[in-house]
Assembly symmetry: C2
Homo-oligomer: 335 residues x 2
């Protein structure tokens, strides 16, 4: 069923399992206690950053299938993408597993696009089980999007730190687990921000646009959710989001948390917090999913945000188009 | 409904309209008579190749909506991706239109992934109308994947020529037009080919794998289709595909045509034929769609193929993972 940009899932597909892998810097923060695989070496025994990123994604996918008690043959669709050019982490993970693969790209909102599509495919009966997964690696992202690490380039205070980690979710029609009840497809917004070090400011309007559409389509209010969880707006982007929504009459201050804001509790040089496709995947798949499992969380509106720039588009003087997809996840809260 | 890797569409969503834009070299070939917009300048009035590529995609999308008699507000999902890093052609097209956007990436099989997802979303009732579109540009692809054109690098005889063009399809639940009746999700195959100039050889096993899965899942034979249309295997890749399938007992020689093989009839230096995400999009959306409209074609199995490499994966010594998604399109053939 559809209203506006929001799709509703009659069969409320369940998130049967979640699994995450997180890097050492990430494990020093909130997710360390909850992640399935905590790395003490961000190379994960590989010889390149890209291979380490891929291995994290593959590990998360395999772990999530294992936790859901599924074999690879039970999976109808593997929905994945990542930040690397031509989404090679996802494609090579698909190669290693042999899963039916639908490549997606939504930058750092890939996790919510994957969950949204996974819910549609399982709800509609096109797959009994779908796996939605993504990840990122600080060092592969830095050298692709910005500068080689060896240069030692100074980071400006509005920047964020790409999360080294991966998350994978098994979406299933029927069974147990928190349910995906509806979701809102994002559209691209662009307020003209062109500073590639200030993605939080660029993405905040996309999150605001999608959240407003979600509230309008569903008739729900911010207070109807225990938690409104954005992906990687960081501290500055989160403030902007709250302001933008407040101006439109939606006050999310009491229930909003941003994955990028909470992922690091070390204070080194990550400035505005975490970012990257892995940021929301790891936080949702570890700390938040654990709250669901323990009955401490009833409903979450998960709205990851993505900055759809490339080095070429920025180099050619374009501003940064951004998007946010939202999915409503509902568990059974113990009173 | 699902069997193996194949999904069946109960409501048989229709391809209500198709629109294409093609470059000058392409218009000298088979698609010239049928394309909606024939360019005499492959810059399309823009100052960069990337902007020209984007403008082609945007033009195709707008034209397809116009032909289907739809406004942008009628579109539930815009499914698009392209060959450029971070699929900027699709993202900026989404920005210009404001359509609800789900970014996808499947290299040169993006067109069949888009149609497959478009059929699932409309069949399942998650969108009344979906737009699936992709495109490519010879010059933007060359400088991103290979060498700057200014270098004048010699092309080896096994290479193909990236099509400059874009195609957009409106998939709709109900109404008129050829129907998408089922589709088979690809999985990644990799036979160890690492020559980035020989993508036809790399991709042929992926097409073979998906076609065999399709025949097994549906119980159909190659002869059950008027046409088995691959995307951009080119001359060499097509021969390999036919051989691979013949070895497995499936003889497609009588019904197989490859978009890359037929797109150029000029013999300059495109060697094995056309390639690129735009190749199958333009051929399917112009020449083939016209055959459907004139009742001269009953059923087509459209299986575009994609090489999921990046310059980084190749540079790090990886072979080329490939994929192919197939969709069965059925029209009303006049006897």
């Amino acid at each position: 069923m559809r209203r506006g940009r929001t799709v509703f899932f009659e069969n409320a597909p369940k998130i049967a399992a979640a699994a995450t892998v997180a890097g050492p810097k990430e494990c020093a923060g909130a997710v360390g206690k909850f992640t399935d695989v905590a790395l003490d070496d961000d190379m994960f025994g590989e010889d390149t950053f890209e291979r380490a990123e891929r291995k994290m994604l593959l590990t998360a996918v395999k772990k999530s299938l294992q936790k859901a008690g599924l074999a690879e043959k039970d999976v109808g669709a593997f929905l994945s993408g990542d930040l690397l050019n031509q989404i090679i982490s996802a494609s090579f993970t698909a190669r290693e597993t042999g899963l039916p693969f639908l490549g997606i790209y939504s930058a750092c909102s890939t996790m919510s696009e994957g969950l949204l599509l996974g819910a549609m495919l399982t709800d509609g009966g096109y797959a009994a089980n779908a796996v939605a997964a993504t990840g990122s690696h600080f060092s592969s992202a830095e050298r692709q999007y910005r500068y080689p690490l060896e240069l030692g380039t100074t980071r400006p205070p509005q920047s964020q730190w790409t999360v080294t980690g991966a998350g994978s979710f098994v979406v299933r029609r029927g069974g147990e687990g928190p349910a995906v009840t509806c979701g809102t497809i994002g559209r691209v917004t662009d307020y003209g921000v062109s500073d590639v070090n200030n993605l939080g400011a660029a993405m905040a309007p996309a999150a605001a646009d999608t959240l407003l559409a979600h509230f309008a389509d569903t008739g729900r209010q911010p207070a109807d959710y225990d938690l409104i969880l954005t992906g990687d707006l960081g501290a500055l982007g989160s403030r902007l989001l709250k302001d933008l929504l407040w101006e439109k009459g939606a006050d999310i201050a009491a229930t909003h948390v941003d994955c990028g804001e909470i992922v690091y509790n070390v204070a080194e040089d990550e400035f505005q917090g975490g970012s990257g496709a892995g940021c929301s995947a790891v936080v949702l798949g570890s700390y938040i999913y654990d709250l669901f499992c323990r009955g401490e969380l009833g409903s979450v509106l998960f709205a990851a945000t993505g900055a759809l720039l490339s080095t070429v588009s920025s180099g050619q003087g374009e501003s940064i188009p951004c998007i946010s997809h939202a999915v409503a996840i509902e568990g059974r809260k113990r009173r």
